[in-house]
């Protein structure tokens, strides 16, 4: 499956924007362009594998130093350009997500990838807090630090509903090793314990998603499917513009009320004790 990483991301970036060429000055692993969605222009961002990257540990579609700062630079530019516009007029930002992980490399750690990832997460969140609708479309994999860097700060998250979608904190083999279980045991546990599941249908139960979308073959979108996905993005944008600028919708959603009781109990108790005493 690893060979497939980034292919879906690239396919959807091209389908939605009409291009998949990197900008001059950007690493070839970041796609960024302005394109129409609904009746407006939006900034589309995607991280794709670049076999020729000068950082060896990102060549399979991991998110590394250059990717993080390039995303942040595009986001900061849009925030600055739209600074004086009303909330309704601020451009939407569409993150197309298909990332296998953050880069696991020594060069990256030495130069401070934690900080690069933080700068990108900051830029995404700053765009959201400034009033830009930020929509993530999970077209393939969304793992761990890769997702935190690219996409997890969105107001609204969309994902395809097929087996190739994996949103998780760590890939199966590593998670099994660290929690001292076999991969089979881990898969079985996922059926009972939704947050551990690698199945996007279980992920949807956590209340973090805006919507699951169906396409027959995410790597080869048909024009009808592209139109449907565009519509879903437009709907997410409209919903984001009406909603709060923080992430509270994630724990206040109907699904979260059953799955995230712990979160809600903590928030209620802490608020009560904060103001009394």
């Amino acid at each position: 499956m690893n060979e497939q990483v980034g292919l879906r991301g690239r396919a959807w970036f091209k389908a939605l924007t009409g291009s998949d060429a990197p900008n001059s000055g950007d690493p070839h692993s970041v796609l960024a362009t302005t394109a129409a969605v609904g009746n407006e222009q939006a900034l589309f961002l995607c991280v794709v594998p670049d076999k020729g990257s000068r950082f060896p540990c990102v060549r399979d579609g991991q998110v590394g130093l250059e990717e993080a700062f390039t995303l942040a630079a595009h986001l900061r530019a849009v925030i600055a350009e739209d600074h004086d516009k009303s909330r309704e007029a601020k451009r939407s930002i569409i993150a197309i997500v298909d990332v296998k992980s953050q880069a696991y490399g020594r060069r990256e750690e030495t130069a401070g990838i934690f900080f690069a990832a933080a700068a990108s997460a900051d830029a995404y969140a700053s765009a959201r807090m400034a009033g830009h609708p930020v929509i993530s479309l999970v077209a393939g994999q969304a793992f761990s630090g890769g997702f935190l860097t690219h996409g997890y700060q969105a107001n609204r998250i969309l994902a395809f509903d097929d087996a190739g979608i994996v949103i998780h904190a760590m890939h199966k083999e590593a998670a099994a090793r660290i929690t001292r279980r076999s991969v089979a045991e881990l898969e079985k546990l996922g059926h009972d314990i939704a947050p551990m599941s690698y199945d996007v249908q279980d992920y949807a139960k956590l209340g973090l998603l805006f919507k699951l979308l169906h396409v027959d073959d995410p790597q080869h979108p048909t024009s009808n499917e592209v139109a449907e996905v565009r519509e879903a993005i437009t709907e997410a944008i409209t919903d984001a513009r009406k909603g709060k600028l923080d992430l509270s919708n994630r724990w206040e959603s109907d699904t979260a009320r059953t799955m995230r009781k712990g979160t809600l109990a903590v928030r209620a108790a802490l608020e009560e004790q904060w103001f009394n005493g």
């Binding site: 130069a111 934690f114 900080f115 933080a118 997460a121 997890y152 947050p195 992920y203 923080d246 994630r250």
Partner: protein, 289 residues
């Protein structure tokens, strides 16, 4: 001859690292001003660990204390490294997010409330995987909301270090305080060795680990702010100085072009020597602070 002449400093020093999360958090406040919120007696435990046969902890390994530092309102949120490696679960993560949000609420209402995060954590708790990862995203968002109004100060003291998603939380903080014993990075050496091979990172090479992730290096690189001795009094003084400085004019993570240019200038044809890189950074002191 007085005793103070005979007894060297390090004997009288009160180690911060040897304290548990609760005692660390308490040690930062003005005496008699603090109160723990949603503590162990409230018994809000992880709903997920027991289902997997793992004993939970009454506070889920996260201590929230509200009080005053140098007379100013502050809240400290401390992760306990001895419980599940200080990992972020649904409950511990929600505690941090909720406390940050309440500090933001107070700050917006005219009562600026600083947050101090004591991060001893390997990152997401894999037994709560996706809710841990979601919690990290929410914590980052809540830090960013608060830091517009009041400083968010991260302390990485040791010995667990601060890794995984929580390293991004350190990254977006207004100030980061470290000791020489602390480590800060996205991926720990074992994880890199496992994923990319021993040629990429030999996790038994202690010198290399400290050269890259250690507090002295991170502060020297300008990716953390203060290097402080493992001494509870000195760490409290460092926190106080950051509270007094208030919100920085510009946060580090906002200076994208400066740091992007530094990455562009890296020679990646072979591994990067940490000491040389630190020297270069020291010579080109950019950044607002």
């Amino acid at each position: 001859m007085s005793a103070s002449i005979l007894i060297p400093d390090f004997v009288n020093r009160k180690s911060f690292i040897e304290l548990d999360a609760r005692a660390r958090a308490q040690s930062l406040f003005d005496e008699g001003t603090w109160k723990e919120l949603v503590g162990p007696f409230d018994r809000i435990e992880s709903p997920w660990l027991a289902k997997q046969g793992i004993a939970p902890q009454f506070d889920d390994g996260c201590v929230v204390i509200k009080g005053k530092i140098g007379g100013s309102p502050a809240v400290t949120i401390a992760f306990e490294g001895a419980f599940q490696g200080g990992s972020v679960g649904e409950v511990s993560g929600a505690k941090m997010t909720a406390a940050l949000d309440l500090a933001t609420k107070d700050s917006k209402a005219g009562k600026p409330t600083a947050a101090i995060l004591l991060l001893e954590t390997g990152g997401v708790r894999l037994q709560e995987a996706n809710l841990g990862l979601a919690a990290v995203a929410e914590i980052i968002s809540s830090v960013l909301a608060l830091r517009q109004h009041a400083p968010v100060i991260t302390i990485v003291a040791g010995t667990v270090g601060c890794f995984g998603g929580m390293s991004l939380v350190a990254g977006v903080s207004s100030y980061t305080i470290m000791t020489r014993e602390a480590r800060l990075g996205l991926n720990g050496p074992e994880v890199i060795e496992q994923e990319s091979g021993i040629d990429e990172f030999d996790s038994s090479d202690r010198a290399l680990i400290w050269a890259i992730h250690g507090g002295e290096q991170r502060v020297g690189m300008g990716l953390a702010d203060l290097l402080v001795e493992d001494d509870a009094g000195k760490i409290a003084a460092a926190v106080l100085s950051c509270v007094r400085k208030g919100v920085p004019e510009k946060h580090r993570t906002e200076q994208v072009e400066l740091y992007r240019a530094r990455i562009a200038a890296l020679d990646t044809s072979s591994q990067i020597d940490p000491a040389t890189l630190r020297q270069q950074r020291a010579n080109t002191k950019g950044g607002v602070r």
